[in-house]
């Protein structure tokens, strides 16, 4: 899968409370959750995501609560991919499970800037920064997790194997 989009850049420890504040957890509606994504954290997010659809972040992205509403709201906003130095483990599982591609790269977060255009080849494991000409390697995922991604989420995968 190749994703070619521009970057929204965030820092370390982006927590699930700022991704989707708990006051909106009284719904499971995907559209409604997307409306409030990053609302307290980045008031410009809704405007940015219209033409920037890859989030690049630092370490421990998605730390905090287990709310699956967090990746749901990000995916619902139109984000195609999150690249981080590292992910909090529950967020990572949740994103994979709902079919939102997430990937780690030790270097990408340091050199990729807000607004850069990337071409990411998830199959080949390569990130090309078209703006700067730099390339980065994606840390490979275990085969089992790649299977879930190929099936666009855990439920579709489980229905096949159950």
């Amino acid at each position: 899968m190749i994703i070619k989009e521009k970057v929204i850049k965030y820092g370390d420890n982006v927590d699930t409370d700022v991704i989707i504040p708990a006051r909106y957890l009284n719904t499971s509606d995907k559209g409604e959750l997307a409306q409030h994504c990053f609302e307290d954290f980045d008031t410009g997010f809704k405007e940015k995501v219209k033409d920037k659809k890859i989030i690049v972040a630092g370490s421990n992205f998605g730390c905090g609560s287990s709310r699956e509403h967090a990746p749901i709201s990000i995916k619902g906003s139109g984000v195609k991919l999150i690249i981080a130095e590292s992910f909090a483990r529950i967020f990572f599982r949740n994103a994979i499970n709902i079919g939102l591609p997430v990937t780690t790269s030790s270097e990408a977060g340091k050199y990729i800037k807000d607004g850069d255009e990337l071409e990411v080849d998830l199959g080949e494991g390569e990130i090309k920064d078209i703006t700067t000409g730099k390339t980065f390697t994606i840390n490979p995922l275990p085969e089992f997790i790649q299977e879930i991604i190929k099936n666009e989420g855990y439920i579709k995968y489980i229905k096949k194997v159950i």
Binding site: D17, A22, R23, S59, G64, S65, R67, A88, N97, I162
Partner: protein, 428 residues
């Protein structure tokens, strides 16, 4: 695969046991059988939706799915009432034995151990990040999201990467008023909010052996705030006594211990004799400081409760400090016993009367204020001292509010002083 003579951590042993294996290696992915799948009114509606997509007409085991509506209950608005209604109907239609209604429920991570639903050696998963609390009972317990919970409800299985372990050895003796909360805030301050990312945190040492079960639950509860997968402790006499009080005999569970010669990814030796009462300042739980160094910070609200610090020992400490005192005029003090049994015990012991006479609001069990849900949401510019577990931006309300995390002792003293305080400042 590891050879038979390779030493293993207790985390490895528990995961091996639940995968039908003798040994598992750190880093490998196992598909393990779970003893409990837990969910609440925030995570379970999504899980139920995903479960129904799988298309099964029953859960893997009606005794092993536990549903506790505790976050926005008693329901704060129509939407949250609709979410709870989904849980109630699902519990009825799928014959879920362990569904706990308002009036009988408690905050999930205080309730399940109290009811004897958690046993040493268990593998527990829950759609709530603080599921790691049960590590205090020698169980491997970890939080997941709704889809994982849905699959676990359907299959009784959870895929997990076997974690590396980090050993924490607590030595020395505790200063007055210092509890498990101070130890865990200090520890997270030491290693950072991702200092144990994906790892099993193994809490050991003489100090842990002498720690009450309530304080142990507090420590395991916050393993996730350092990114940990498990926050695990060995079973000892105190654990056995806790279980015996719940009519669980030692022959009813399996005890797993780390081999003495096992290799840990890291070992931290922490001399507790020098640890002061801790406060985690905004906006990360790792921002731990000595409470006495924050003494001039004025506050608007105090919360004593939550899955972290809403147990009887926590209320006892608060009552000792608040006895015969009144809270500062400008401070709203909200005290929330974590379960109905804890509430009743606090009532019998006279704590509730002490709290009300001191000018505190006492509430039925709910997670409410911890996540800015209800029962004490903060306005712009307001500041709270709270015995809860997270102080992220906007965690308890307006993004312009601030949360300082502390133990019940610091919280109660601060309520009286109207600013961050230690007990010595308010006790005669």
């Amino acid at each position: 695969m590891a050879a038979k003579n390779v030493p293993q951590t207790m985390a490895q042993k528990i995961l091996a046991y639940h995968s039908g294996r003798d040994y598992v290696d750190a880093g490998e992915i196992v598909n393990a059988g779970v003893d409990i799948v837990l969910g609440n009114d925030v995570t379970m509606p999504l899980a139920i939706g995903e479960f129904k997509k799988i298309g099964l007409d029953k859960v893997f085991d009606e005794e092993k799915v536990v549903i506790v509506p505790d976050h926005f209950t008693p329901n704060k608005d129509i939407k949250s009432a609709e979410q709870s209604k989904l849980l109630r109907e699902f519990a009825r239609n799928f014959n879920i034995k362990n569904y706990f209604e308002v009036g009988r429920m408690g905050i999930e991570h205080a309730l399940l151990p109290e009811l004897g639903l958690i046993r040493p050696g268990n593998l527990i998963t829950g759609a709530d990040s603080h599921t790691c609390t049960y590590g205090a009972l020698g169980a491997a317990a970890t939080g997941v999201g709704s889809t994982d919970a849905a699959v676990a409800m359907a299959t009784g299985k959870l895929w997990l990467m076997v974690p590396e372990s980090i050993k924490f050895i607590y030595t020395g003796s505790l200063k007055p008023w210092v509890t498990g909360k101070d130890l865990i805030l200090y520890t997270i301050g030491l290693i950072g909010v991702d200092g144990a990312l994906y790892k099993s945190m193994e809490f050991t040492g003489q100090v842990i052996k002498e720690l009450s079960m309530d304080s142990r639950f507090t420590m395991s509860n916050m393993a996730i705030e350092a990114g940990g997968k498990f926050g695990i402790m060995e079973v000892d006499a105190a654990t056995e006594e806790y279980l015996k009080a719940r009519k669980i005999d030692v022959k009813d569970y399996r005890i797993f211990k780390s081999d003495h010669d096992v290799e840990y990814e890291k070992i931290y030796e922490i001399d507790c004799s020098s640890i002061e009462l801790q406060v985690a300042a905004p906006h990360l739980p790792s921002n731990a400081k000595n409470a006495k160094d924050l003494k001039d910070i004025s506050i608007d609200q105090v919360v004593i409760g939550s899955c972290t610090n809403g147990r009887i020992e926590d209320l006892k400490i608060a009552a000792e400090i608040l006895d015969g005192k009144t809270v500062a005029n400008k401070v709203r003090t909200i005290i929330i016993p974590a379960t109905q049994n804890i509430y009743l015990e606090a009532l019998k012991r006279g704590y509730i009367e002490i709290f009300i006479k001191a000018g505190c609001a006492v509430s039925t069990p709910t997670c409410g204020p911890c996540l800015g849900g209800h029962m004490g949401v903060l306005a712009d510019g307001e500041r709270a001292v709270s015995t809860t577990n997270r102080n992220f931006v906007g965690r308890m309300g307006h993004p312009g509010s601030e949360v300082y995390l502390s133990s019940p002792a610091v919280a109660a003293a601060s309520a009286i002083a109207g600013k961050i305080a230690v007990p010595e400042e308010v006790i005669d």
